[in-house]
Structure formats: structure tokens, C-alpha cells
Symmetry: C2
Subunit: 396 residues, 2 copies
């Protein structure tokens, strides 16, 4: 039985049609609306699949808290140390803050989130437990994957590996990692440890790799070797991967080919101030590319609003995507790309898929990306979770 029909709607900016939803899934696109069926007038809007936030840090945003005046030092370790201290001093509650960001994300049209959650010897399981509480409370709004993330270092801070193990037992979905050379000072040790953990729990890996140039390329090679040796195809993600923005095109091409062969996905936010992976070249080589907001309004910096449509715009600007077909690829990274990266089974605007979608004004997909209209209606499994760009559910 059809539970909801959407009339006068233009999937991906195509011709106006109808979408029928049955038991939370898209049953038909273009079918006649059954008499008496509850119908949402699409008003000629675009429909796009639910946006995929494939790299967030929900546990530590300051969204909705008093303004934090950032005076932190320039080094990575300054930011890491400052944050660990600030969490306590400012009272950054992972459950409350993650719920706030989920509501913000849902308002913008995000229906799936992968979040990295800090695991360290100061906070222990506080982050994991807080975000798990939000995941349970807001399960009707978003599907969430939790990555146990050793933000302060793994081997350099004894006790962290045991906490990572505990996080996986508690319910984290993915094993995280961080700069095996630059932060942990022991690339073999770091990578052997996180791959062993992933193998123990039969889970994937999503590693932050900020390392640039040849150092990052070396770490990336070590990751690729392990992914291949351990049969972890499609189960490893490298986030940021700044080394793929290095100036040596032959070295980058070799890495891109190796990533494609190992079926390792790349997450890029299109960071404007750093070298970034070449989005189109990766996709042409067959590498899955997802994107995310990374940290928003936290002790690292004030930017970000968790809008994945704005992220598509920033990816487009960073990668100099000017043609409409190129901007459409940027949006694809923020929808299907992220979904593939997260291993989502049935995602998209197709019959049979969960009815996760965003209805928004705009003549075409590119117009929507560059205009980022606030006026969005968001459906999750066929239910409206946001209207006029604002979540209809409430959080703390």
C-alpha cells in the first residue's frame, strides 16, 4: 500500500513526475497516484537523494554553545592539545552536541552520517557513549556510522589502543587512525595495530591522513599494502589524503592507480588551504570519493554549517569545476560517492531504495548546488524530518 505520494517533482532536475512511497521505500517513480493517497505537492521542485555526510566530528562541535574565541597556536599538536583541555573546561557534552549537529544536518538534507568520535585517555568512552545515545535517539532521522578515532595519537599515548578496542566492543562500526608518521611516529606500528583491530572485529578502517607529499605517499603505500594483503577491498577509506595533491603528477598517478586496484575509497572536503586529492582524476580511475563537513564550529576553527550542498559547491570551487556536468559530479560525491564509501546497500532515487530525499527549489542540480537554497523538505524513510531547512524533531 502506498503511504505517501509526491506529485509534481523533478528527480535530479528532470521532467515533472510523481514519486510513490510504500513502507518507507520508493515503490514507483512516474506512476499514477492512487485515489485517496496522502499526497505532498512537490511544487515543481528538484528531488535529490538524501545528502551523505561522510566525515563529521559530531562529538565536539560547539554549535549552539556560547561563541568560542579561538586563540589557538598554529601547529596541529596545538589544536589537538587545546581541544582535549577545552572539552572539559567548556563542558562540550558529546550527546548534546552530536544531537545538535544531527538536527542541523537533517535540516540541510543529510540522511546519512559517518562520524569520527574521539577516543583518548582523558575522555575514555565519553564520546563514543554520547554519540551512541544520539544515534539511538535520532535513529528515525539519520543512519549513522561511528568511527573510533584516536585523535590524540594511538601508540604515542599508551592506553589508547585498549580504549579503541573497548570502543569497538561498545558499538563503534569502523576503526579510525591518524597520521601514522607525523603524529604516531611509527607508521608500521600504527597501521599494524589498527588493521589488527579491524580484523579482530571484522570491521573496516577509515584513517585520517593529513600527511603531505612523500611522507603521506609512503603512509598511503603502507595502507594499500595492508588492505591488499588482508583482503580488505572496499573496506578501507583514506580521509583527506592531502598527499594526492602533491605536485608530482607521476607519483600521484601511481598512487591513484594503486588505490583503484585496492578499492580504497578517498574522503575529501576540498580543503581550500591545503593540497587536495584531484576529484575528477580519482573518479575517472574508478576510485570511490565521498565528502564531509569535517569539524564544524569547534576549537579547531569557526567555519562550517554541516550543509553538504554547500560542501558540493566548495568541492567544485576547489577543483575548478565550472561546467554543469562537472558540478553534477561534485554533488554525486556528496550523495552516491559517500554512500558507496559507507557501504550503503540500497541508496538512491530508485524504486526499492529507502525514501531518503531532499526536495528543493532550483531549475537544475547545478543551480541548486551554487544557490544552496535554505527552503528544503527532507524525507527519511518516507517521513518528513525537516521543512523549510529546519529539522522537525527537537534536541537539547
Amino acid at each position: 500500500m502506498t503511504n505517501l505520494a509526491i506529485s509534481n517533482i523533478r528527480p535530479m532536475g528532470g521532467v515533472s513526475t510523481s514519486i510513490l512511497i510504500e513502507n518507507g521505500r520508493i515503490s514507483t517513480i512516474g506512476g499514477a497516484i492512487p485515489p485517496g493517497c496522502p499526497t505532498l505537492d512537490g511544487g515543481g521542485r528538484l528531488a535529490i537523494p538524501g545528502l551523505v555526510e561522510a566525515h563529521a566530528h559530531l562529538d565536539k562541535t560547539l554549535w549552539g554553545m556560547q561563541w568560542y574565541r579561538n586563540e589557538v597556536g598554529p601547529r596541529l599538536i596545538d589544536k589537538i592539545d587545546n581541544e582535549r583541555a577545552a572539552k572539559c573546561r567548556l563542558g562540550i557534552d558529546p550527546a548534546r552536541q552530536s544531537a545538535r549537529q544531527v538536527a542541523l544536518s537533517a535540516g540541510h538534507g543529510t540522511t546519512h552520517i559517518r562520524t569520527h568520535v574521539d577516543v583518548d585517555t582523558d575522555g575514555g568512552m565519553a564520546g563514543i557513549e554520547g554519540v551512541m545515545a544520539t544515534r539511538a535517539a535520532l535513529a528515525d532521522a539519520v543512519d549513522m556510522q561511528i568511527v573510533a578515532f584516536p585523535q590524540s595519537g594511538l601508540l604515542v599515548r599508551p592506553g589508547t589502543l585498549e580504549l579503541m578496542d573497548q570502543a569497538m566492543r561498545l558499538g563503534a562500526d569502523v576503526v579510525g587512525g591518524l597520521d601514522p608518521c607525523a603524529i604516531d611516529r611509527d607508521p608500521k606500528g600504527h597501521l599494524d595495530a589498527i588493521f589488527a583491530l579491524a580484523q579482530r572485529y571484522g570491521r573496516g578502517i577509515d584513517i585520517h591522513l593529513h600527511e603531505t607529499g612523500e611522507m603521506g605517499a609512503f603512509s598511503m603505500e603502507l595502507i594499500i599494502e595492508r588492505a591488499l594483503a588482508l583482503g580488505m577491498r572496499r573496506n578501507v577509506v583514506i580521509s583527506h589524503a592531502f598527499c594526492l595533491g602533491m605536485p608530482d603528477p607521476a607519483a600521484v598517478a601511481r598512487l591513484v592507480d594503486a588505490l583503484a586496484e585496492a578499492e580504497i575509497a578517498v574522503m575529501t572536503t576540498g580543503t581550500p588551504s591545503r593540497p587536495v586529492p584531484p576529484l575528477l582524476a580519482l573518479r575517472e580511475a574508478g576510485v570511490v570519493v565521498g565528502s564531509g563537513s569535517d569539524g564544524i564550529r569547534d576549537t579547531w576553527g569557526p567555519y562550517g554549517n554541516a550543509d553538504m550542498l554547500e560542501r558540493a559547491m566548495l568541492l567544485g570551487m576547489r577543483n575548478n569545476l565550472r561546467r554543469d556536468d562537472q558540478v553534477e559530479q561534485a554533488l554525486d560525491v556528496c550523495t552516491h560517492g559517500g554512500a558507496s564509501m559507507m557501504g550503503l546497500a540500497d541508496y538512491g532515487l530508485r524504486p526499492g531504495c529507502p525514501a531518503d530525499m531532499v526536495l528543493l527549489p532550483g531549475s537544475c542540480v547545478t543551480a541548486a548546488v551554487v544557490s544552496r537554497p535554505r527552503d528544503r523538505i527532507v524525507l527519511k524513510r518516507g517521513k518528513i524530518i525537516a521543512e523549510a531547512g529546519t529539522a522537525v524533531f527537537t534536541t537539547l
Copy 2:
């Protein structure tokens, strides 16, 4: 006599105070509001000076026109040739389109605009005349400077230099130029021609310099030599200046010092996909830095919305400005920096200056930059020209 008082307003996010306006100028900050004086309740908002759009292309935006599907080729010359043809084919009317962008800009809080206007052998004076019509029609909303801009090349297209001369006679304020090596293939010839034109009319120069690396550095040296030799201190602007983003720090430092000595200003949009001038290093060296939207929604690309608060955010992201005091510098580029670049005499939130300002929600300047609230009240010479982010005047 005080014409308008603004109560409960926080200049630059400071403590709540009053601003009194007399004959279109700020007369007092913090004074008592005279009995019976018309009063605008600031409601605890921030006040910042009117935003300065120091680099626009008003004559050729497609804003408000039917969506243009961009399928243009990858080279600079592809975009230049495509645009010249599209102007005619699409009916891009310079008067109508510039008025539309002025209204959009004013809604976001822009009170001053420097616009480059195409001068070429196809369009002749059409752009200059159209934008001059808008300048006259909307003189109460924005102050506008017009740069005669040889977008299609100067010496490579015979007849263009004569048209540039005609544009200056008609009422253009500044002589433009474009990539003397890469486009015009004759750096000495190009620069001698535009400097001679500037000298003839006693006007300044604002040259587009997209040239990267050593080629751009060479062109920049030629510009600096001429500015010094001709006594044009404070009267030359180099727009984009991508060569200042070259990887050789010693070469960049030499150029920055030379720009400071010659008092040449730099305009940067913080282009995410190109090397960009180092914003903080330029300011530290004493170089005036302004910013602008560059082209918005035109045949070059779909991005942009003419919001200079968003531009401050993009500058901050591109230059990795994370601390509040750094983000404040990005906004300063989009206000005082642009004003200095344009040579505005009395600009700012100070008694005696024209009452050009933006009133907007936010706890502090950095919060406003990263949040880009739409809800802005904009005053030009003490009169409200925009409310709720929308211009109160109408255009075609």
C-alpha cells in the same frame, strides 16, 4: 540636526551603544538620542561598515536570467571567446544585468563597488554605457568605480586601445589591463599602453594578472617599475596576482617588499583552485589588500552570490585563518582594505564618515563572517537601502 538615531547597536561587536546620523554622515557614536529623533532599534545587532566589493564584473552576470548550462572548454581563451559570442546570443544587457547585481550586492550589505567592464571590438562602448546608466540610476544605493577592461586582449585585438581611450573619455574611472604576457603576448607594449592611457587621463590602473609563477613575477616587476617611474604610488592595483602564490618563498618575499615600497595594492578573491597571494604576509608588509566577488553566475562559471561576508569567509578558509583575530582581518580586507584600494576618502564607522553600514545579528565579527546571516539591514548615507537582506529599491 540629527536625522536618524540607531539605538542598541554594537559597532564591530563591542558594547551596545547608539549611532547618530546627520545629513547622511555619522555625527556621534555613543551620544544621547535627542528627543523626538527618528530612531531605529538596533536590537543588539552588530554594526560593521558597508562592505566593499572591490572587484566585480557587473556587465556580464547572468543573475536573474534563464539558467545557462556551461559546456565551455578548459582554456582561458575558450572562456573569453565563448563569452563574447554568448553576450549577443543570450542578450546579456549590461544595464539590466549590472542593476540586478547592484541590488543583490546592496541586499548583502555592499555600499561600494569597483567593477571591471568589458571593452572590445565586438561590444564597443555597450558595457561602459550600460553600467554608467546603472551607476546613475542607483547612485543613492552604491558608490561605483568603473574600470575599462580589455577582456579580450588589448594589442592582440587592433582597435581595442582606441576603444579604451574612448571609454575613459566617456566616464570610466580607472584603466584596466590583462595578462600582458599570457594574453597580449607583449608585456612591454601592453603595460606602456595602459600606463600611458592612465597618465593621459590622470587616472589609476587596475590590472588583471592571472599569470602564475615566474611569468607573473616578471609582469609584476614591469608593473612595479612603471608605477615607481611614473609617480603612481597608491594608484595601481594588481588583481588576482596568482604569482604571489608561487612556491618560492624568497621570490614572493621580494615581490611583496617591492609592492609595499611602490604602494601598489593587491586584490585577491582567495580563488580556491589557484595559487593565491598570502593575505596575512601582504598586510604585515603594509600592502593594501582588497577583495571582491569577481564574476558571479556568468558564462565563466556558476558560482558566486555577491555576498562580501561570504567572501570574507572564503578568504579565511583559503588562507587558513582560524583564530578570531585572523578572521577579523579577512573582514577588514572586505571593508577597510577595499576602501583603501579604491582610494575612498572617508570610510568607516567613525564620526564624520558617510553613514554606510550593515546591521546584522551575531555575537561577534567572526561569528557573523562564518554564519553569513541573511537578515541584514543596510544603510547608505544614512538611508535604509536593504532590509532582511533584500534591497528596498527595484530594478528591471
